[in-house]
Symmetry: C2
Subunit: 117 residues, 2 copies
DNA sequence: ATAATAGTTCAACTATTCTCGAATCATGGA
DNA sequence: TCCATGATTCGAGAATAGTTGAACTATTAT
């Protein structure tokens, strides 16, 4: 992943309204939510909402899908994980110390096991 | 973790110079690096460097430790993982789909195994 | 004490970001 | 076709962020 892409992603998430949109869509899952629903949840004006959706979209963090009059936005989970990987890559490369804590690890494991069932 | 704290963290990472500082410190491990070394690595002016270190520090992503004339900055790995957890928490809560991909999972596993040896 | 080295703070300027009302585009129903 | 609804674009204003030179503080060496 390119540095520029990562910066765009972080910039997109470094804003209250957008972070709330993103978390809402993370919760919503791959099916996503239409713009109207997101606006109802956050209480922002349509113009502002559209602006932020474009930002998130441009950062690759969410994707749009048209369905009739509605446009559904959904989180791009692959992109989220790519951003996380960019941070943790080369972690402690010099002294070989591991910096992923137990809590995170066990969480991922629990999810993996659950998904495998 | 508070939303405001997360926003500060993302804002801190959404900037080329700071992202480079942070990745350099992630690589450097818990021992950290003195300001001069960071400056030599990045080629930024002292004032600019100081400004960005303060930002990262204020976001809780790095910590300072004085040693004689030198000030060593080191990444705060707990904070990094808290930020990541904030993103992935409640992931797909509505439909139960797992969104952590195989690549990330296996990476964490490999590290855990390595650390356990 | 004096000088040198390591970092920080300050002030000023430029550039970017956020927000909102009004206008516009696009889709579906009467 | 005409209208209502869902969403985006545009323009302008206020606020915030990034960079730099110069001055400043703190620690060590001579």
């Amino acid at each position: 992943m390119e540095t520029n892409e990562v910066i765009k992603a972080f910039a997109a998430l470094a804003q209250d309204t957008r972070l709330r949109i993103y978390r809402f869509l993370i919760e919503a899952g791959p099916a996503g939510q239409p713009v109207g629903e997101i606006g109802a949840e956050l209480g922002t004006s349509p113009a502002t909402l559209s602006f932020h959706l474009k930002e998130l979209s441009h950062a690759g963090l969410i994707n749009a899908r048209q369905a009739g009059r509605f446009i559904y936005y959904a989180a791009d989970f692959a992109q989220m994980n790519a951003v996380i990987a960019f941070l943790t890559d080369n972690c402690c490369a010099r002294d070989g110390t591991c910096c992923v804590p137990v809590t995170r690890t066990s969480k991922v494991r629990a999810r993996t096991l659950k998904a495998a069932r």
